[in-house]
């Protein structure tokens, strides 16, 4: 039994052996204690204590509470929180206080979960290391000289460090799964459309997906059930009533066919990372699953397609930050053009500017067909690869990331090397599929390795069940960095 599972904390709360306020104070104290990780952009101690007290009062009154009621957690600073600054990791939004709550924020508040603050992230979710944050890099709790991954690096670090049992994240090209892998925790990216994007600051709309970082697949399931569901405010939200994943985690794996994608083990994948992933797959085999060797022939085109489509959408999504209505406004502008160029030059960091330029170029007259349109065709081929593969298997597996967490500064000067860290994750976003990264032990350097499992659209229950069965049979996900409370 996982001593820190949401279910066990929930049971303690229900039995009134611990109060939401005590848990909140504990989380806040741990966050202060682990300040060196820089995993939070802000802590909201007063608001958190207030929310915890009201949950405790409801419990004292005998109210019927949901499993997440009184559980402390943290939001990635990409989710709009009414009255609480939401920076998206950018100087541009340093003083932006949203007048409304995101769908995910509303849902978790309704479930009674207690947000203690907003976690650090790559600026506008553009990055794989958390180094592009305007609020400084976050550190990996397993080794403070290493990155926690990105863009949801602060959320991953906060969970791995035992500050909170779970945190929200977003995954546009691997931004939940890759930091989960780097930090030795479980990260779920649901099917595109499963969770409303309303109130989630956009990076690349056709790829952006809200996700969960937690200690286990079972915990991810509880949170997913709270945040999933149709929302009329997002035209890409999908109506799938009545689907609950947390209650469907006890299916035996006998008969489950797992496709092992050979492309995911090729190229720059660290040998010991590949070894650990194979070992984890053998565990799944012991649980009853069958391993099938499969190919995803267009997998190696995914990075190129992603780094055209995502910047193209970003170049348009980020046009609204013009210094006119909100966000950073240059003080020195003498003309309208200067208001735009100075506000954006001062407000956006280098990586964001790079992607805006790349995306603007890809959409320009004369280049659109060669870049954007071609990337969309590749995207279709990649989706077809998955569809073909899923005709013969139930899940697809591989390493989440080709390496373990790299050193802070190691790749920050080399955009292409950084982009290569997403090689195994971006295809999933291009196809809109659900995927999970689960801990698969430790590489020779002692750093965590992640196993990625991918499912067909809306098969989250199957995905989470397989991950849960693996976690029932192994204890990798129970390992915590030295010094973790």
């Amino acid at each position: 039994m996982n001593p820190v599972s949401i279910a066990s904390i929930s049971a303690e709360l229900a039995a009134q052996r611990v109060s939401a306020l005590e848990l909140t104070d504990q989380a806040l104290a741990r966050a202060e204690h682990a300040a060196a990780l820089n995993s939070f952009i802000r802590l909201d101690a007063d608001a958190a204590r207030g929310a915890a007290r009201s949950i405790d009062a409801m419990r004292a009154n005998g109210s019927d509470l949901q499993p997440l009621a009184g559980i402390p957690f943290a939001h990635k600073d990409i989710f709009c929180t009414r009255g609480i600054a939401t920076t998206c990791g950018s100087r541009m939004l340093q003083n932006f206080v949203p007048p409304y709550d995101a769908h995910v924020v509303e849902r978790l508040a309704q479930a009674g979960a207690v947000s203690i603050g907003k976690t650090n992230m790559d600026e506008f979710a553009m990055g794989s290391s958390n180094e592009s944050s305007a609020y400084g890099a976050a550190a990996n709790p397993w080794d403070h000289t290493r990155v926690p991954g990105g863009s949801s690096g602060g959320s991953a670090a906060a969970v791995a460090a035992g500050i909170v049992p779970f945190a929200t994240g977003t995954d546009t090209g691997g931004s939940v799964r890759q930091p989960a892998a780097f930090c030795g925790i479980t990260g779920l990216k649901p099917t595109y459309g499963r969770v409303s994007r309303y109130g989630m600051i956009a990076y690349a709309s056709s790829l952006d997906c809200a996700g969960v970082l937690a200690r286990s697949a079972a915990d991810c399931a509880v949170v997913l059930d709270a945040i999933a569901g149709f929302d009329a405010r997002d035209a890409t939200s999908v109506e799938r009533p009545g689907e609950r994943t947390a209650a469907a985690l006890s299916q035996p794996l006998a008969g489950l066919r797992i496709g092992v994608a050979r492309e995911y083990f090729s190229g720059g994948v660290q040998a010991d990372v590949a070894d650990r992933v194979h070992a984890a797959l053998r565990e799944l085999q012991r649980c009853g699953a069958t391993l099938v060797d499969i190919g995803l022939p267009n997998a190696h085109h995914a990075i190129a397609a992603y780094y055209v489509i995502a910047p193209a959408e970003a170049s348009s999504n980020l046009a609204r930050y013009d210094g006119v209505r909100y966000g950073h406004r240059a003080a020195q502008a003498r003309s309208l053009d200067e208001l735009y160029s100075l506000s954006r030059a001062e407000g956006f960091g280098a990586e964001v500017q790079r992607r805006i330029l790349v995306g603007t170029y890809a959409l320009s007259a004369g280049y659109y067909d060669a870049y954007y349109l071609r990337a969309q065709k590749v995207r279709r081929l990649i989706a077809e690869d998955f569809a073909t593969a899923f005709a013969g298997v139930d899940l697809i597996a591989g390493p989440t990331a080709p390496t373990t967490a790299f050193r802070i500064g190691e790749k920050s000067g080399d955009a292409l090397a950084m982009y290569a860290a997403d090689v195994n994750t971006v295809a999933v976003n291009l196809a809109g599929l659900p995927a999970i990264s689960v801990p698969a032990g430790f590489a020779d350097d002692g750093l965590p390795v992640g196993l990625q499992l991918i499912a067909p659209a809306f098969a989250e229950a199957r995905l989470l069940n397989a991950a849960h069965q693996l976690q029932q049979a192994t204890d990798w996900h129970l390992q915590v960095p030295a010094g973790t409370p």
Binding site: C80, T86, C88, S205, S206, A232, S316, L318, L363
Partner: protein
């Protein structure tokens, strides 16, 4: 042998922007009413607050379908919203959501009657949905520009004609026909002062017989029929003059100056923005079910063109009357409601609707739907006229009284004692009294001064306060004066 140059031919295409009369915006729930205080009708979506998302307004889509069906166009089962990217302070997202490669309404056509009596067929290439931008307010703050986002996100239907018109008169006739149609369908209020119906004019000229189009200019945002006419006339002349002087036409956007009746360059296309259109990733393709199209088709009203033909062929109205009655659905419906009470009296009804009623409406600057005299009210009045209870002249007075709110026709006739005197006894008594009073004039008349007849008519009318049946009066007078 060198032949003389062919005459010039103008080629004109219009892009009409019709604001769809929906209660809320194209992608947000904010209201669309005109004239509210600045930024009071701008939701979080309209202000492009980070994290907000557009959700299509199905009512706007329905109205686009109705227009498409009315011009006999193909309705796209799948159409795509695209982003048109450019920076401007009143464009909050930094892009406008429009439709580019796959519009909701495909090619259609409209039959247009030109003032000179010809009918031309105008090909409409497409009509697509798009959102309007906000407004920059330049005069409210000293040395600063204000932004009002009330209009941002308002649904527009952009109706794009092929370059098939050859004169300002044809272009205006087409624009009027579209204006009538969108109001007829109830999809746009057509209010041009408020900018609900405006147009961009693409103009080029070439030698008659040339198959290649000349270089075109685009005159932006013209918002009255007269300005469209003047702007196109000016632009045709300017282009011909330039070409005859050996100059070339620069492809550019021009603005119409209504005080000088001139166009002048706004910006050159060479330095124009690259809009970087691409499908909006926030919006799945717009899907329209065959059943939805069928439902709109069934609900479509009889269209102005069909009704005009019916008025001429079935009711026997002159074409000019039919044109005027069908210039506005409310007017045509009003006419038909009056006619329903007076079968066979189409011309009488048309004369009154296009005469008295139209005059009063124009004078009061109101819509016929707001006229104080309803179709039923007018029908009652015209029934009394037809029965001979009142004369035409009295009818006009009664109509004026009805317009002033003095009651219905019968009540006014009763109250004012205006019922026509057709009773021979009463009329004879009045005539006798007049003849007795003017014995001298009677003698003159009998001595051959027959022009005095009108004098006696006038005097008798005066005595009867205009209520004498004029025909009867004439006959009786003649009899009496003849000495009977």
């Amino acid at each position: 042998m060198k032949t003389a140059a062919q005459p010039w031919q103008a080629v004109i295409g219009l892009e009409i922007h019709a604001q769809l009369s929906t209660a809320s915006k194209l992608f947000s729930g904010a209201a669309t009413a005109y004239g509210a205080d600045p930024n009071t009708q701008a939701s979080l979506v309209d202000c492009a607050i980070p994290g907000t998302l557009p959700v299509p307004n199905r009512e706007a889509v329905r109205k686009a379908i109705q227009f498409g069906l009315a011009i006999d166009a193909t309705i796209a089962r799948h159409s795509v919203f695209a982003r048109k990217n450019y920076f401007y302070p009143d464009l909050p997202k930094g892009y406008q959501i429009s439709q580019y490669e796959l519009p909701v309404v495909g090619a259609g056509r409209l039959s247009v009657r030109v003032d000179d009596g010809r009918t031309i067929e105008v090909l409409i290439q497409r009509a697509h949905l798009e959102e309007d931008a906000g407004k920059s307010v330049h005069d409210a703050f000293h040395a600063e520009t204000g932004i009002d986002l009330n209009r941002a996100g308002t649904p527009l239907l952009e109706i794009v004609s092929a370059p098939v018109m050859h004169s300002a008169a044809e272009a205006v006739a087409y624009m009027r026909t579209v204006h009538t149609l969108v109001r007829w369908l109830g999809i746009c209020d057509g209010n041009m002062q408020e900018g609900s119906f405006r147009c961009d004019c693409n103009v080029s000229v070439r030698r008659s017989g040339d198959t290649q189009l000349g270089t075109r200019t685009e005159i932006k945002n013209v918002n009255s029929f007269r300005f469209v006419e003047k702007a196109i006339e000016y632009e045709i002349e300017r282009q011909i003059r330039a070409l005859e002087n050996g100059d070339s036409i620069v492809q550019e956007t021009r603005l119409y100056d209504p005080t000088r009746h001139q166009t002048r360059p706004m910006r050159s296309k060479e330095t124009a923005d690259d809009y970087r259109y691409f499908p909006d990733p926030d919006l799945p393709p717009l899907t329209i079910a065959e059943a939805d199209i069928a439902r709109e088709r069934t609900a479509l009203p009889e269209l102005p063109q069909a009704r005009r033909v019916r008025y001429v062929t079935e009711l026997g109205l002159p074409e000019a009357d039919a044109d005027q009655l069908c210039s506005d659905r409310a007017t045509a419906d009003y006419f038909e409601a009056v006619l329903a009470a007076l079968p066979g009296q189409a011309k009488l009804c048309a004369n009154w609707v296009l005469g008295e009623v139209a005059a009063k409406i124009n004078e009061a600057v109101i819509e016929i739907s707001a006229a104080p005299v309803t179709a039923d009210g007018l029908a009652q009045l015209l029934t009394r006229l037809r029965e001979g209870s009142i004369s035409g002249k009295i009818a006009k007075d009664v109509f004026a009284a009805m317009w002033n709110g003095e009651g219905d026709a019968d009540a006014i006739i009763q109250a004012r004692g205006l019922k026509q005197i057709s009773d021979t006894g009463a009329l004879a008594a009045a005539i006798d009294a007049v003849l007795a009073e003017y014995a001298g004039q009677v003698a003159d008349y009998r001595n051959g001064n027959e022009k005095l007849l009108q004098f006696f008519v006038g005097q008798t009318m005066k005595r009867t306060r205009g209520q004498a049946n004029p025909q009867q009066l004439n006959e009786l007078l003649k009899q009496k004066l003849a000495g009977n």
